[in-house]
């Protein structure tokens, strides 16, 4: 309760300070609109439907690309963990591609696919799948061998061992890999949307881009705010349930080092 109060006070003070500073007009209101102006823009954009439409377009791309990235990354990670052949081929490929900032895929995607949804999906998938794949691979590799040995004495073999022991044992790593993949997908999509205008749908990135073109700073700040909120919500909705489950079952701790 005390912590909630502290956080609320902090953010309210930030807003008040921002409003006060904007009112002094030391910086031009064009460059630093007041929080009330930003709120006004967001309210307007909500009412005329542009904000909701853009959010829907962006989320659709994100979810599709992220799911495809998961569906590719998870099995590939399992294969690289299991078979040396895959480790020495796709494993190395993934290591290389993972270091590549995913915005670097944008020029390539544009030339290959043109200004299409496919280009967007491609960038998001490239941002997601390699990190999910690597996390899955290292998750499987860090399963204590004693689990597998114990399972074998109880009669578990082959596929059964994979499904009932290795996968659940590496689950905490896979979840954190999925979370990292989500962060990468989100970043790469925003980069792609700011870069690329696609006529099949205007996402949040485009609103941000046009805010700059029109020097509409209230729009730029408002959209940044929306992007932050979506990121936070996704974290809570998509990953908190898994993490709470892990916390309950495994006893993996959520508390930091200094919280008594």
């Amino acid at each position: 309760m005390k912590r909630v109060l502290l956080a609320t006070t902090f953010f309210l003070s930030c807003l008040v300070f921002w409003q006060a500073f904007a009112l002094t007009e030391i910086w031009s209101p064009v460059l630093l609109p007041s929080p009330l102006r930003v709120a006004d823009y967001l309210y307007g954009a909500l009412r005329d439907g542009s904000l909701v439409a853009a959010t829907a377009v962006t989320l659709r791309r994100l979810l599709l690309g992220y799911l495809a990235g998961l569906l590719l990354g998870l099995p590939l990670g399992l294969l690289t963990a299991r078979f040396r052949v895959f480790e020495d081929t796709f494993g190395l490929l993934a290591l290389g591609f993972q270091t590549l900032p995913s915005v670097c895929w944008v020029p390539l995607a544009l030339l290959w696919f043109g200004q299409t949804e496919t280009a967007m999906l491609f960038v998001v998938i490239m941002g997601t799948m390699w990190s999910v794949m690597i996390a899955t691979d290292s998750g499987v590799n860090s399963v204590p061998s004693i689990y597998v040995r114990a399972a074998r004495t109880m009669g578990s073999r082959g596929l059964h061992t994979w499904l009932k022991v290795i996968l659940p044992a590496s689950f905490p790593f896979i979840v954190s890999g999925m979370k990292q993949g989500w962060a990468f997908a989100w970043r790469s999509l925003m980069a792609a949307e700011i870069y690329v205008t696609i006529l099949t749908g205007f996402g949040l990135g485009h609103l941000l881009h046009y805010g700059r073109e029109l020097i509409a700073m209230d729009q730029v700040i408002g959209i940044i705010f929306v992007i932050i909120v979506i990121g936070l919500l996704a974290d809570k909705i998509l990953f908190s349930p898994w993490e709470n489950f892990l916390h309950r079952r495994w006893g993996t701790t959520k508390e930091g080092l200094f919280t008594a």
Binding site: I146, Y147, A150, M154, G251
Partner: protein
């Protein structure tokens, strides 16, 4: 098959280890973990202890009997049949509990039972509950593993190892990580459980008193190369108390023997 059949104790098995050798390659070169080790565990011998310092290959021998490792030469026969792979006739209890943290207590015990096709789910549950009751954990069926104390974890591990009704139970320093009080309680419980279940048990430990408290027969192993140096029979009545004078008397004798077998190796190195 009914639950009653399933819970019938199997006749304790006869285990013959003959001339088993095993070499490991390490960074420092070849290590002879076991050299020409032979061991006979007769039917009705409920505990056969392997005692020796670290590096004497006692865990390796246990893993070979479990079928988790293959010997370089020699063989293991269980009731006349050669051991080549892990099997439910030989269940292992490890030093760390090796319980699965993603399953609760009951599901951990059910893991091996689910792999027995002859049982219905209902029977599996009854069997699991029987063994959890045997180790005194019937009130913790739904508990998560991380919520249990070290001693409780090893009780679950014991129930899990007993549940598929093996004829041999292999225990690899199962109580080494526990505190003394918990350990003493478990000695009493284990003796009580095998009075009821009559399993052939092979118990690995480096704790001489523990071996005497539990074992009918004690095999002393020495390191590099791992060999069985001497075997002792402990004719004490059960239940035994690890703090009793008789146990202490045997412990003195055994410790002296261990030192005797260790010294030549140290002198040459």
């Amino acid at each position: 098959m009914t639950v009653r059949d399933e819970l019938q104790p199997l006749p304790p098995a006869k285990l013959v280890v003959s001339q088993v050798s095993k070499v490991f390659r390490t960074g420092a070169g070849l290590v002879k973990a076991l050299e020409d080790v032979s061991l006979k565990v007769s039917e009705g011998e409920f505990v056969s202890c392997l005692v020796g310092p670290s590096g004497s290959g006692k865990s390796t021998l246990l893993n070979i009997i479990a079928g988790l490792e293959k010997p370089d030469s020699g063989s293991v026969l269980l009731d006349g049949k050669p051991v080549t792979a892990p099997g439910r006739d030989r269940m292992v209890m490890f030093q760390e509990s090796a319980l699965f943290p993603w399953l609760n207590v009951l599901d951990n015990v059910l893991f091996g039972l689910k792999l027995k096709p002859s049982l219905t789910n209902r029977e599996r549950r009854e069997v699991a509950q029987y063994y959890l009751q045997l180790v005194g954990l019937e009130r913790f069926l739904r508990a998560n593993i991380h919520e249990l104390s070290g001693g409780m974890k090893q009780r679950v591990a014991l129930a899990r190892a007993l549940a598929p009704n093996p004829s041999v139970l292999l225990m690899d320093e199962p109580f080494a990580a526990l505190d003394a009080m918990t350990r003493e309680q478990l000695y009493a419980d284990l003796q009580e459980i095998w009075r009821k279940r009559r399993k052939t048990i092979i118990f690995v430990t480096h704790n001489v008193r523990e071996a005497i408290c539990l074992g009918d027969r004690i095999n002393l192993l020495s390191p590099s190369p791992g060999r069985i140096q001497e075997a002792f029979t402990i004719p004490l009545a059960r239940p035994r108390d690890i703090n009793s004078v008789e146990v202490a008397k045997y412990a003195t004798e055994l410790t002296a023997a261990l030192k005797r077998h260790l010294q030549p190796a140290e002198a040459t190195s």
